[in-house]
Symmetry: C2
Subunit: 115 residues, 2 copies
């Protein structure tokens, strides 16, 4: 049920700039498959926790991800309320699934689960 609303060039450029970083683009693809918490991202990327936090902050400031606290963890996921939600899912559609990365975390016992 995609509406194909016309998008504004400037705000689209801003969203594309957010996606135009390897780390953030990978994060977005991961979140399109599963919500994910900060420490999982830290384990997935060889990068400090503040660096991860800062990338997530940019995505949140851009309104394209949302956060949910679940006890001590904060889970990030794509924000389906964003006016760019369907745009983003289209853009990342043909990127390779990152599921294997989460599977690796699982094997290492580093996957966070709040069920």
């Amino acid at each position: 049920m995609q509406t194909n609303q016309e998008l504004d060039i400037e705000s689209t450029a801003n969203v594309l700039k957010l996606l135009g970083d390897k780390t953030r683009l990978t994060m977005i693809k991961i979140m399109s498959e599963h919500e994910c918490c900060v420490c999982e991202f830290v384990d997935l990327f060889e990068m400090s926790q503040p660096a991860i936090s800062q990338h997530l902050r940019k995505l949140k400031d851009g309104g394209i991800v949302k956060e949910t606290r679940r006890s001590q963890w904060i889970f990030y996921s794509l924000n389906p309320s964003s006016s760019f939600y369907s745009f983003i899912t289209t853009v990342i559609r043909d990127l390779p699934s990152q599921q294997y990365k989460l599977d690796e975390l699982e094997v290492q016992g580093k996957r966070i689960c709040c069920d």
Copy 2:
């Protein structure tokens, strides 16, 4: 006849970074509607000729536009041979047409035509 080949995350991020600039994104949308020469871009954007030239250089280095010299002018257009061609046309599909800008140039007698 889109093949939907799987795209590499890193090179996709690089293409998205190229699109993630208001000037370049507008240029790309314009080129998706018409080929365009450098001096037309200079007239369309309030920006120096070298600035325009440098943006076009980045797009060319990224392989997503191509150039064709026609007498003293160099016309730029989307490169249909790029592995990102269909990706890019999808990304810009719902952006507002920039045809009106070219129409304005035409009215001002600034449109370059080599027919």
